[in-house]
Symmetry: C2
Subunit: 464 residues, 2 copies
């Protein structure tokens, strides 16, 4: 019933401060007090949650190229303008325009059985079926299994990629990494062997009927075959049926298609550094979402936290010494054109990036940060600040991955930093219709924005 109270983390911080020389003690004390200001502002007057509600509930799904993506761009710009950043602007970029279409269904049927509908959705980028596509199914769990199949067992069939998440892994992100190759490469590898379609088990350890979309990649030299994700329950049912009746037929109908590229934008809001205006810290999330989802945790949370991080610095009077930019990147989900464009423009302008921070792992309770840098000394420098962040449970700092949107800044930024939060629930809803605003918790979200603002405060004061 009653939760334990902890003062130990604060005690650790104090001990660290006392072991340092006097000037460092003073600085650590100032920093500690300033972080507390940031958290107070976030927890008492944070705006992330209300901003996210609007994005999710008034704009909703916003796949690149959609009218909602355009609305989201305008919303992002207006929101940043209202926040009073020094400069708010758009970066034009052409983005892919894939549409799901109204028709999307599938079923399977054993030779003498009844047709069973399954929960599925087209993978992002998939071609449609041009009417109904009917074929037998061959199930595989590894590339090796596929390679060993005789041609006759693949040709003219659906290849069903059914390798599940490895549930033993503590980080669901690791399980995702261990399964997602099926979604990315499955359709191409199946087509190379003469398959007519690809069915992929949804990328989750949850057992339910939510199909998880996500991008698949074709190869221009290989026939493009339709590709769909089955819910995990549907995948289990199909797999069980195949064990009984290898001659099961699957019928797939999808009207998805790729239209010509569309003009879109990254949204950028900037606060000039008071001492080193030419040194830049970027903080961002991606504005686009999959078409099935409100894109709450993926990645509305990263967008609102990034804007909030700047707002927190201004509202607490902690104007950054280095220039800070909040960036709402477009097109992370199916192309990363926004991230690539941002890095190109930064390079062309000869900008010096101290760091880029991304929040794209959901808006759950903070843990810390993963630091991707050429030099281990850079990681160590960020780790020095762990005692300041530990009282807020955001002090878990280690070498790690930055993020997809900021990835193209590799080599241009001293460090790429991924905001890291609890992720047990993330892949249950990732890329599904269940990624909705109600899955986000106000305090968890605001704590994340405060953690990001705190790191930016330290980066902007001390550099890297």
């Amino acid at each position: 019933m009653l939760h334990h109270l902890r003062t130990a983390a604060a005690g650790l911080l104090l001990a660290a401060a006392l072991a340092a020389p006097a000037h460092a003690q003073t600085a650590a004390k100032t920093d500690s007090l300033n972080l507390r200001k940031i958290y107070d502002e976030a927890l008492l007057r944070g705006q992330s949650y209300d901003n996210l509600r609007y994005l999710c509930q008034n704009i909703g799904p916003r796949l690149s190229g959609s009218p909602q993506a355009e609305q989201a761009v305008q919303w992002g710009k207006q929101t940043m303008e209202k926040l009073g950043f020094d400069r708010v602007y758009l970066q034009e970029v052409m983005v892919p325009h894939w549409v799901r279409g109204a028709k999307e269904k599938g079923s399977f049927k054993a030779p003498k059985g009844k047709a069973q509908n399954v929960a599925l959705c087209a993978l992002g980028g998939s071609v449609g079926t041009s009417g109904k596509l009917k074929a037998q199914v061959v199930e595989v769990r590894s590339w090796d299994e596929l390679a060993k199949l005789p041609d006759a067992q693949v040709k003219g069939k659906f290849v069903f990629f059914n390798r599940p998440f490895d549930d033993k892994l503590i980080e669901p992100g690791g399980a995702y990494s261990g399964a997602v190759d099926q979604r990315g490469r499955g359709p191409v590898e199946a087509a190379k062997r003469g398959a007519v379609g690809a069915l992929v088990r949804s990328m989750t350890s949850a057992k339910d009927d939510n199909p998880h979309t996500g991008t698949t990649r074709y190869d221009d030299k290989v026939t493009k075959i339709p590709a769909a994700a089955l819910s995990t329950l549907a995948a289990d049912r199909l797999s069980a049926e195949l064990k009984q009746n290898p001659a099961v037929e699957f019928e797939l109908e999808m009207a998805c298609q790729t239209l010509p590229d569309v003009k879109s934008y990254n949204v950028v809001g900037e606060v000039k550094g008071s001492k080193y205006p030419n040194e830049i810290i970027t903080v961002g999330g991606h504005l686009d979402s999959w078409d099935l989802a409100q894109g709450a945790h993926d990645d509305g949370t990263g967008c609102v936290q990034s804007m909030e991080a700047l707002r927190l610095l201004l509202a607490t009077g902690l104007r950054p010494e280095r220039t800070v930019r909040a960036v709402l990147f477009i097109n992370e989900e199916n192309g990363n054109r926004g991230g690539i464009k941002y890095a190109e423009l930064a390079k062309a302008a000869g900008e010096k990036h101290v760091a880029a921070i991304e929040s794209d792992g959901g808006g759950f309770t903070p843990r810390g940060f993963g630091v991707e840098a050429a030099s281990p000394a850079t990681v160590a420098k960020v780790q020095q600040w762990a005692p300041l962040l530990a009282p807020y449970h955001a002090g878990d700092i280690a070498a790690g991955h930055g993020g997809t949107d900021i990835g193209p800044l590799k080599g241009q930024a001293t460090a790429l930093i991924g905001y890291d939060c609890d992720s047990q629930r993330y892949f249950d809803i990732h890329h599904t219709a269940a990624d909705t605003f109600d899955k986000v918790h106000r305090r968890e979200l605001e704590l994340g924005g405060a953690g990001m603002a705190s790191l930016i405060y330290l980066l902007s004061k001390y550099g890297l």
Copy 2:
């Protein structure tokens, strides 16, 4: 989209092991491998989630003295018997029997206004209103404010205790501790001043219409006045109305009452220690819940995790060297009779308790453990194991609070240990109708049981 992968925690563990002498290195390696076995079993074949589903959905709310509490006792006993523990038994204990009754409603009305219904519920233990109780309201936020009110402003009125959670605090448990005195002492303090009823703001920082029940304590020397919790939204509305119209009248009708005590039971499952059978480690949660709730997070999770912790040790072949008992305590919510009885029986039998562990802060993602011990050396000993638990995000070990049920073992057990998990969502649902099974996440729950089993493994091997 993609979550960062971390290997740093495992690296730390390795570094710690390498710095130690050879025999300690071997032991640390063995322990590390054994913890991995425990987690594998929990994540691949964990039974906590299915057990919890049954308890929540087939038995449901189970306040002490209710038929459902009796069903839960039988379920707990049968579940432990099926798990093949060495010995499963009940400990008889008389428990309070408070019933809410069918009628429970309230409204307020400004002199010329319309009556507005409010979401409320009786506080546990409250007397009823014997028909409708109608009176004016005086709002206070502190004991000091109440003390300074002239008698005429309190007498014959409802005292409305409306001090909110301090939202700045990082741990919601701290905010709870800072507000819950209003629920516990409010009605008595109001009655001492001649009030006819007490209204208490619900114990949460969530803004919604869920009233949160919870126990209040009368004093036999003071008139027992009816006491209800208002939802936070209702409290805000009433407060706003009072600012406009201090003459607002509140009407309360509640049919709750306290019936004679009922016979009930703690459920105990024991696995004998292979080397030190007379040294005991207790792990438990409380079986009773509030009548409004399924008691999922409070405290079904603690019950199923405690049974699971023992199951994990048996299933992985890590039979404990010291005796381990899983205890489902009865009556934590409104009396703690089960906890008191357990300690009494242990004392009477001259039992030596190495440690008692309690999980009663929800079944969310683990953090670690809070250790309550007479000697700081005991806390330090438990902290030595942090590197083993850190790869599972359960290595945050500090001085802290054990738990209500194990509290009476103070002085009899070397350490009282509280299982500590992420708690941002806990007080949103605590003691409300929203504390339901769907709020619990399978992996978060199973990770908690594995963390508890891991600590028990270490305690049973090394003692304290």
